[in-house]
Amino acid sequence: MTSTDSTVERGARAIDVSDAHYVYPTGHVVALGGVDLHVEHGEILGIIGQNGSGKTTLTKLFNGLLKPTSGTVVVNGVDTSGHTVQQMAAHVGYVFQNPNHQLFARSVEAELEFGPRNIGVPEEEIKERVADAIEFFGLADVAEEHPYRVSFPIRKLVGIASIVTMRPSILIFDEPSTGQDHHTTKIINDLMRRLREQGTTVVCVSHDMPLLADVVERVVVMKDTMIIADASPREVFADKALMARTNLQAPQSTEIALKTVVPRGGPIALTPHELADDISARLAGKATAPQQTVR
């Protein structure tokens, strides 16, 4: 897969949300109560929070599916309020939680061609993008199958691949790992790493803390329609008071590290690998902390 193709205004941030409010048309439900969020190009951002905290509403502002009732949302230098979802689709890809909501074509291959064709990608390039995606997601065996004839985890991959072929500069995942088996989750994990290498901005809404701990560089915590924390995953997951206040649970590796190695001067582990490295080092009599990424 190659890097993203959508036009990005020079000097503009990937996402600039300023004092965004959103009230549903009935007028009774305030879904966002004044949110400020700034995301640079190439950042991998996780958004966590309880159901109803405003996570999905916030991400729907990014591609113009919802327009803020007040405040501004500027994506790649483009104010979403003056643009349709179709126009924003070249900038922002949105992977919905349920793949059944988007699959309709006669074959997996045709499904992957749909998005790029809508945004005017030349036919030759569509073929190349589809071939790339089929290889990366391991869909060669089902490329000619009807999307509804493949298993749910594979269908999920088809749904993600159908957005990836559009090669937007910003990609939003809504609960990408819900109901997925280990194989599919690993592919999603690998995809996020690949997107990071390519400089794609990724926003991932998820309750899957181990997934976020493994791949994101920054975690935004939402509660009651507001952002209440915005920090590195290590800082967020180690903040017991924050986790308790938001009814969230840090990854098990972090919780174990906080109870065992951290009181002894060890590092805050985010993943089982980091925790295992630290335990191995200690068992081998080395007091040195394991190598950690900056996250």
Partner: protein, 297 residues
Amino acid sequence: MSMQAALPVALIPGNSFIHKVNPITKIVWVIGYIVLAFSTQNIYILYGMALFAFLLAPLAGVTKPLLKGALILVPIGSSLLALQIIAPAVEQPWTPVASLGGFTIYGDGLYYGLVLLGRIVASLLIALVMVMTTHPSDLFTSLAKLKMPYTLNFMLAMTLQLIPVFQREVGIIMSAQKSRGMKGSGFAAVLPSFVPVFVGAIERVQQLSISLESRGFGSDGMKTSFRQVRSRPSDWIIGIVGAAIFIGLSIISIMKGLWSLAHVIVFPGTFVLWLFIIAAATFAGVIIVTLIYAFKK
């Protein structure tokens, strides 16, 4: 994005007097409306019924969704009037009142067109008011009291409950496809939007049937209901008064040979001609706009 607003054929929550009326009373009124509408050809009665049903809407706080639901009457009404004016669905002789090109315009055609339209308008408006002000579970409980077969009753209640679910589903699917750059309307949008809707509907129904069977649906014995519907004296009064009016007017109407006023009300030729032009133009406009949207990419 409010699909509720796009397809307003579901309960609009509220606390109005009409919301509180017993569902059986409402059913009596709907059945009474339909029986009377098809027992008379008196346009004063028909349009009086339609007006009364419409006036219930502001009392129930459902005027806007009712008007949206009643939009379907525009193509139906315009085509019905235009066709009846040039080809009345009654026995000849017809009374020509004007001509336009090769068409002869008949005054009694307009009258019978108005009768047919009045029946549809009155029945549709009262039915919409009932659906928009009645919780499906209350309807279920009430119909059960009327000894309606349990399975049939359940099917009706389930259909009404699934409407808002499917409306929400359509909204999500449209959002998902727009996010992939699909045009929001037009012929090109039909396949990407409706395949997921239909597949989702079939899957949902399959899951629902398994879920119902696994919880003993179809077993013998008395069924109870979680929601209880009370019958207040006012419900009885409204029901009895309504039934008396509808039965009385129906009997009078039938005794008077459907109480047609076709020979009493004489429409001026120019009026009928202009009404025909307006109705035909409206119907043609609806067709043209639909075709433009259908083939617009």
